[in-house]
């Protein structure tokens, strides 16, 4: 794998580095942080375009996963119920 450059600025905003925000994005989305930690991340993001944009895309990606519905093809259903000896 080729070397990849980290963002030019790992900024300290509202007492948090960008790398610290990156590490806590899932915990933030999953509601696992304290109010103080949430507030600190929000303050950082307000002052950091990199984290604001990336955090938004990260949240959207997770939301996309949550929205995708699964469909089972009718022939798969037929084979399943036949294998189980059940009627629908």
């Amino acid at each position: 794998m080729k070397a990849r450059e980290l963002p030019a600025e790992n900024r300290l905003v509202a007492g948090l580095l960008c790398t610290q925000v990156l590490a806590q994005l899932s915990a933030y989305l999953d509601g696992e942080l304290s109010e103080a930690e949430v507030e600190q991340i929000r303050s950082h993001v307000q002052g950091c375009t990199t984290c604001e944009e990336f955090g938004g895309r990260f949240a959207t990606a997770v939301q996309k996963l949550r929205e995708v519905e699964e469909e089972v093809a009718p022939d798969t259903d037929d084979r399943l119920f036949a294998a189980l000896g059940l009627s629908r």
């Binding site: 790398t19 990156l22 915990a27 944009e53 990336f54 997770v62 089972v72 084979r79 294998a83 009627s87």
Partner: protein, 198 residues
Amino acid sequence: MSLSAAADVAVDSPDTALLERISSGDKAAASMFVTRHRASVHRFAKALVRDRGIVDDVLQDTFIAALTHAGTFRGEGSARGWLFTIARRAALKLEPREQPLSEDDDLETLGVRAGWGAADPESLMGTAQTREQVNLALQRLHAEDREILVLRDMEGLSGPETAEVLQLGLAAMKSRLHRARLRFLAALRGEEFGHESA
């Protein structure tokens, strides 16, 4: 199934009640249980195995085992978690994982692959992102990433339930989930990860 038997099984019967009836040989309850959960198990089966030809086998093996052993469900966790545990066992039996997921990349490197610090176009994650694109991105991931994303984000299992199905501690599950989400975002940008088996 007779009409009277069908009437006896309420559509909103809880899983624990259905499993109890299934263990007594109630086919109407079995049919309802399978109908209720088949899409979730199908999605999980697709995440677990790379060979699409055996997804149906995983689906069928899962429900055969679940219906056969319905009486062993103790109701200590959710029936969905129990079912996913059975599915995972069935999948690993049919398609053993040859290589575990490599965790060579540190978090910052994963972030960069996911677009951290990059000026990605808005359209990358816009509303036009289709189910096909999401599924294509999932297929670029290792099964270990797909299974945790399906359980936690697509099927909505709680953190502890997800950890239990994957036989991980809660902290390890959270760490793996975060990295899997970053790799999923990277895969949406076209990055490739993990080809653990043909």
